[in-house]
C-alpha cells in the first residue's frame, strides 16, 4: 500500500529504534495529542521499547473520550424521540451518558444508524423523508470540513429533514487550557497529523514559544512515529525548541485553506464542554444562524441537561496525563471495556481502554 508500507518498512524502522536510544539524553515526558497516535503507538508496541527516561502520556485528542456526559445524554434523549433518526460514527455507539448509551437506546427501538461519512447521513435523510435525521457531529478538524460540506450540500439541494448536532471541537485551544495548569509537566507534544493537515503545522508555533514546548507534527506509521520521537528528544536534549513537521506528505505549514473556508462558511467559534476538562472558551464550533435550519439544537429546541461526571471516574485527570488509569478506583473493577463507565474506556483510542486491553504498565 503506497504511503503506508514504506513507512512500516522494518529495515528502515529498526535503525530508528537505535537512533532514538542515542537521542534521549535527559528525561522527558511527551504527550501524544491525537487518539490515532495513541493507537499507532500501541499497535507498534512502541511503549515497550522506549529508552529509559522517555515517557509517553496520552492527551485529549480522542474525540469520543472528550464528549461530555451532558452531550451524550442529549444525544440519547434525542434518539428516543419519535420521528428522529440519529446517524453516528461507529465508536459513539457504546459511549455511556449518565443513563445508558445509544446502543441501549437502539435496543429499545430508537433509530440509530452507524455511518462512515456525514454524506451517508444526508442520504439517510433523502431516503427517509418523514423522519428528521440528526448527524451527531463529534470530532476535530479532521471531520469538520466533511460535515460543513454536507450541510452546504443539504442547503444547495434543499433537503429539509437533515440536521447536525455540533459538538465539533478545535485544536489547539484545549492544549492551552491543559498547559496553563502548572501541575502538568510536559516537555513536548507529538502533534496530531490529520488535524494539522487542516490547521497547518504553523498553528503549534505560539504554544511551542509560550510554554517552551518541543513540537513535532507526526504521521501514523512506524517510521513516522520513531522519527518524531527522535526529533522531540533532540529538541529537548539540545534545548532547541521549535515546531518540526515530519509529515510533509500530508501537512503544510499553512494548512488546508480551502477546507478552512468551507468550515468558516458554516461554523463559528463557540465555547464547548469537554469531558474531564470542563468548558473551554472558543474550543468548539456551532452552526451559524444563516444555516440554523440544519442545527439540531435549534430545530429540536434542545437544552443541554446538567450532567455530572460519573462518581469516582478519573477520566479528567487521565486526559490531562496527570493520573494513570491504575490510580482510578473504578479501573478494571467497575469500569471495563465490556462495561465502560468513563469515556477513556469506551473508545478504542481511549487511554484506559489501551491500558486495559494492552496491559500497558505490565
Amino acid at each position: 500500500m503506497k504511503y503506508v508500507d514504506e513507512y512500516r518498512d522494518v529495515s528502515l524502522a529498526r535503525p530508528l529504534v537505535e537512533e532514538l536510544k542515542k537521542a534521549v539524553t535527559k528525561p522527558l515526558r511527551i504527550m501524544e495529542v491525537c487518539g490515532s497516535h495513541t493507537m499507532a503507538v500501541f499497535r507498534n508496541g512502541l511503549r515497550t521499547i522506549l529508552p529509559p527516561g522517555m515517557e509517553l502520556v496520552s492527551g485529549p485528542g480522542c474525540p469520543v473520550c472528550v464528549t461530555s456526559a451532558s452531550h451524550m445524554d442529549a444525544f440519547i434523549s434525542m434518539a428516543d424521540r419519535p420521528g428522529v433518526r440519529v446517524a453516528i460514527f461507529g465508536d459513539l455507539f457504546r459511549v455511556p451518558g449518565t443513563k445508558g448509551s445509544l446502543a441501549e437506546a437502539s435496543s429499545r427501538g430508537a433509530k440509530v444508524d452507524i455511518v462512515y461519512s456525514p454524506m451517508d447521513a444526508l442520504d439517510l435523510a433523502v431516503k427517509n423523508p418523514h423522519e428528521l435525521v440528526v448527524f451527531l457531529g463529534v470530532g476535530f478538524e479532521t471531520t469538520t470540513p466533511g460535515i460543513a460540506a454536507t450541510i452546504l450540500t443539504a442547503h444547495n439541494t434543499k433537503v429539509k429533514n437533515f440536521t447536525v448536532f455540533s459538538t465539533q471541537k478545535v485544536m489547539p485551544a484545549p492544549m492551552e487550557a491543559l498547559l496553563s495548569d502548572p501541575a502538568l509537566k510536559i516537555d513536548g507534544l507529538l502533534c496530531p497529523g490529520h488535524v494539522s493537515s487542516i490547521i497547518g503545522a504553523g498553528t503549534w508555533e505560539p504554544l511551542a514559544k509560550k510554554y517552551n514546548l518541543a513540537c513535532v507534527v507526526s504521521g501514523f506509521e512506524t517510521a513516522d512515529l520513531l522519527k518524531s520521537l527522535i526529533l522531540l528528544a533532540r529538541q529537548v536534549g539540545n534545548n532547541d525548541i521549535k515546531v518540526e513537521n515530519v509529515y510533509p506528505r500530508a501537512v503544510s505549514w499553512e494548512g488546508n485553506l480551502r477546507a478552512a473556508k468551507v468550515v468558516a462558511e458554516i461554523f463559528e467559534p463557540a465555547d464547548m464542554d469537554w469531558r474531564g476538562l470542563g468548558r473551554i472558551p472558543a474550543s468548539g464550533l456551532k452552526i451559524r444562524d444563516k444555516y440554523a435550519e440544519f442545527d439540531a439544537e435549534v430545530r429540536l429546541d434542545i437544552k443541554l441537561p446538567e450532567a455530572k461526571e460519573p462518581k469516582g471516574c478519573m477520566c479528567g485527570n487521565i486526559l490531562k496525563g496527570m493520573s494513570t488509569p491504575r490510580e482510578c478506583p473504578l479501573f478494571a473493577t467497575r469500569c471495563t471495556t465490556a462495561n465502560p463507565i468513563g469515556p477513556c474506556m469506551v473508545s478504542s483510542e481511549g487511554t484506559c481502554a489501551a491500558y486495559y486491553k494492552y496491559g500497558r504498565d505490565e
Binding site: 500500500m1 441501549e104 437502539s106 435496543s107 471495556t337
Partner: protein, 337 residues
C-alpha cells in the same frame, strides 16, 4: 449481567456473547457435554463417537461477493464439525422466512445450499420452515445443525494445546468480515473483496491423515476473529500465545479497507479459515500439508504457545515491541478518525 435488554454486542462473538452464555445459558442448561463450549459436542456410546453442532445465520446482506447466507449456513456447520476432527455426515435445515420475501431470492439460496452440499458431500436430511409476519424478521434466517463421526483416537480440543506447539492459520484473515462491512456501508474498495466462505473438512482430513496425534487443536475463527479465538485457546490451555505481526497473512485489499475504516483485521470474521495448533516439531510438515490443499494454499505459521500468563495473546511487532491482543469487546466498530 449488567444489561436489561439484549444488545447487538451480545451477538458479536466477543466478551458480551461469552457473558450471555456463561451467565444465562450455562446457568440453566449446564451439563458435562455442553460445558466445554467447543465448536461441536462429542457424544459417545458403545458404538463410537458422534459430533453434534448447531448454528444460526442472520447475515445482512443475504447475497454478498463470494457467497450468500445459504452457502454460509452449510459451510459454517460443516466447519464446526470439522474443528473437532469429525467427518461431517448430514445436516438439518431450518428456515425462518419473513412475509413478502421474494420467492426467486429464496430459490437462489436453496440452489446455493444444494451446490454447497453437493461439493462438500454432506446432504441436508431433515428440515423445517416457518413464516413470520412482515417486520418480525429480516427476509430470511437459517439454522443448520450437523452430525459427524469422530474416528477412533482423534481427540481435538482447545484444552489440548501444549507448550511449544505451533499456531498455523490456513489462509488470509478478515476476508469475510470486511466484505460484509464494506457492503453494508456501501464502500467500494479497489481490488475485489470477497467472502472466504468454504468448507474445511477436507483440509482437516488431510492434516489428520498426515499428522495423527500431532494436531492438538482446530478452531475456525469466525465472529470475533483470530484474536478472540486464540484468546479462548490460550485460556483453555492455560498458556500464552505469541504471534508474529509480520507472519499474519492478509490480502492487500483487506488491509487497505481496514486502514480506511480503523479496523483491526485480527478481530474480523472468517468463514473459510482454520487455526491449527500442532506439535512444534511438526509445524513445517503441517504447513506443507495445508498448502497442498486448495483451502489452505495461503497457510502460514503465525505463532507458538509458550509458558506465561494463562489466557494471554501477545503480538511481537516488527520493531521489536510487543502488544497484548484481547478478545473482542462489543462489535468491531469503525472509528471516527
Amino acid at each position: 449481567m449488567a444489561e436489561k435488554t439484549i444488545l447487538l454486542d451480545h451477538g458479536s462473538g466477543g466478551l458480551a456473547s461469552q457473558q450471555l452464555i456463561s451467565d444465562l445459558f450455562l446457568k440453566y442448561l449446564d451439563n458435562k457435554t455442553l460445558h466445554s463450549l467447543e465448536d461441536s459436542a462429542i457424544l459417545q456410546n458403545r458404538r463410537g463417537r458422534l459430533a453434534f453442532t448447531t448454528d444460526s445465520y442472520v447475515v445482512d446482506p443475504i447475497f454478498f461477493p463470494g457467497g450468500d447466507i445459504g452457502k454460509l449456513a452449510v459451510h459454517g456447520t460443516i466447519n464446526d464439525l470439522a474443528m473437532r476432527g469429525a467427518t461431517p455426515y448430514c445436516l438439518s435445515l431450518g428456515l425462518i422466512l419473513e412475509e413478502g420475501f421474494a420467492l426467486d431470492e429464496l430459490e437462489r439460496i436453496i440452489i446455493s445450499i444444494s451446490e454447497a452440499c453437493r461439493e462438500a458431500g454432506v446432504p441436508v436430511v431433515t428440515g423445517d420452515t416457518k413464516v413470520v409476519p412482515r417486520g418480525k424478521g429480516d427476509k430470511i434466517f437459517i439454522n443448520t445443525s450437523g452430525i459427524g463421526f469422530v474416528a477412533k483416537d482423534i481427540d481435538i480440543s482447545s484444552k489440548n494445546a501444549k507448550e511449544g506447539d505451533a499456531v498455523l492459520l490456513s489462509g488470509t484473515m478478515g476476508d469475510h468480515g470486511i466484505t460484509i462491512m464494506t457492503r453494508r456501508a456501501g464502500i467500494a474498495v479497489q481490488g475485489d473483496l470477497q467472502s472466504d466462505t468454504m468448507p474445511l473438512h477436507n483440509l482437516v482430513a488431510a492434516l489428520l491423515a498426515e499428522l495423527p496425534g500431532d494436531v492438538h487443536t482446530l478452531r475456525d475463527p469466525t465472529r470475533g476473529g483470530v484474536a478472540t479465538t486464540l484468546n479462548e485457546v490460550a485460556a483453555a490451555s492455560g498458556l500464552t500465545i505469541e504471534l508474529s505481526d509480520e507472519s499474519l497473512p492478509i490480502r492487500p485489499q483487506v488491509r487497505a479497507a481496514c486502514e480506511l475504516l480503523g479496523l483491526e483485521p485480527l478481530y474480523l470474521a472468517n468463514e473459510g479459515k482454520c487455526l491449527a495448533i500442532v506439535s512444534g516439531n511438526q509445524a513445517e510438515k503441517a504447513l506443507a500439508v495445508m498448502r497442498a490443499t486448495k483451502e489452505g494454499k495461503d497457510a502460514a505459521i503465525i505463532g507458538r504457545l509458550v509458558a506465561g500468563r494463562a489466557g494471554r495473546v501477545i503480538v511481537n511487532t516488527p520493531v521489536g515491541g510487543t502488544r497484548v491482543v484481547t478478545p473482542l469487546h462489543g462489535m468491531p466498530l469503525p472509528r471516527i478518525c
